[in-house]
Amino acid sequence: MIPALPKTQLLAQCRKMLLVRHFEEALIGLHHEGRFRGHYHVYIGQEATGVPAISLLQPDDLLFSTHRNHGHILARGGDPGRLLAEILGRRDGYNRGKGGSFHTSPRELGFLQCSGVVGGILPLGTGAAYAAKSRASGQIAVCLFGDGALEEGAVPEAFNLASLWKLPVLYLCENNGKYGAGNAVGAMQSSTMAVYPLTDLPAAYKIPAVQVDGTDAAAVHEALNESIEAIRSGGGPRFIETLSVRWPGSETNWPVVKAPTAVDLAWDVSGIPEDVRAWYRDSDPVLRFMRELVESGQADKAELETLNRSVLDQINAAVDFAFDSPYPELSEAETDVFAENR
């Protein structure tokens, strides 16, 4: 379902979901053309989690993400040109080319760290919540991470601290392995947990935890809204697990786009290659959101087509911007090692 929000906000969310989707599809294309090197992780399939969730945060809240951060940054209003410039290692990237895809972390948008260390952000986010609580700043900390993070020992330690000290932190666990790829050869690693549902782990530390459908924007909106309010009113940490089905394009470690996203696919998947068709029909959150917008009378297909075209234009401009940006000066390699004392 779609969240109970005014049309302008719904269309804004739809636009962001399309922005994430087209950004990632363009990125995969650029990688296949050999226009940048290195490993990267796309957010395709999780758009209906990140977009509604992040839209509920305040501008001064403190965010932490992982290697799979592109969608979070764009959902938070990030500039796709600067995000891409970072992934290309260019000077105009958010981290001035020092971080790359795994670590793009725009401080101006409230991100304190996007860590490539699985599980690494949970203690950090808990610490940011400690600062917020200590200073009574009214901020909350939000950790956005994958199901695999729960396998790391740092995570239950963070849960224990947050629970004991009633810290204002939201743990948003995006479980993108609903039907689990497991550790199949050639496949992405995914969760291998003795604890299931995953919510049992935070619950053992007395952190209220719920599981929702991460492809259902309304369910995400409601769960987040309730949790954020509870956290802001001093209720301590909360945990939400969102479920989504892994996008078949990431079955291997190097993503492939077999069906570029288009508005009419929301109603007709017959043109999509058979081996991936079921995902677009049953599990694609962006197509689902567009379908629900039209079914609920909030938008018509023509409006969505216009929106989609404007997103594609924005992506094209972002690609030009990023490739026009130069590499940093070599002397930049030796800056930022230590902060200047003030």
Binding site: G38, G99, H103, G116, N183, Y327, P328
Partner: protein, 322 residues
Amino acid sequence: MRQLAYHEAKLEALRELMEEDDRVYLIGGTFFSLSPHRLGFAAVEKAYPDRVAAPPISELGFCGLATGAAMAGLRPVVDLTTGSFLFEAWPQVCNEAANVLYMSGGQVRAPVVFHMLHGLRGGGAAQHSASPQAMLWNCPGLEIVLPSSPRDVKGLLKSAVASENPTVFIDHSGLFDTEGPVPEADHVPLGQADVKRAGADVTLIGTSLALHRALGVAEVLAREGIDVEVVDPRTLVPFDLDTVMASVEKTGRVVVVDETHQSCGVAAEIAARIVETGFDKLKGPIRRVATLDVPVPYSQPLEEHIGPSEGRITAAIRESIG
């Protein structure tokens, strides 16, 4: 002699280890990270489903588990994939495995092997590019192995597993496709350096992938009449100072190239040992070509700039011969 690619020799070692010793268990990744060669490992996994385990993302847990299993009689080989993830396992490796023999007064051994890929890998940035060998060299009790050739990766992997001590086996993905001779029946002991190229003017000591850069530079300089001897220690612990000093006595000039950071790095320790034992043999200062003392940047030109490049090795050699 037969020629093998590095990845083939490494896989052959894993296969033979599994065949020859049923105490050997493989725990962790693919030993070839995300490279296409991981599919070769999949065959080993299939052949020994009960002795190959894919653990959760729990480096602290599974490195400790492997150490405990080694203490109780197995010969586990753990793959941490990227050297940076060793930091997740630090307490079990550096504070448990490294100390158990000594602290028990010699009663308990932990013959475990921790395998990982180190170094600048092309876009790994600060959190996926670590070369932890220098930090580990400051942890008495751990053996440290750094192969650079197909022959060495096979021989050293087998010696690491045969060793009675905890051994850190540090590989580099940049080596996988190199080719070289690999004898059928071979033994490469820990603690034996290898002169990879004989020369008379300068001793160039290099490890792992940096060794190949050293060899490349040596070939180029040979055309100018500069005769470089390239020495590969192959293992840091135990360290074969004799072979290194024999070369230093011959040349009197030393450049050490290595991918750890410059300060307290591998090159620093090697230079210190040479100076302590053979100061009088040196005709000038020892030069280090190491990674600059900065976290690893993502951007390609910056990453290339901070590493021990051919250009920096060449410059160091020219300075050294004056």
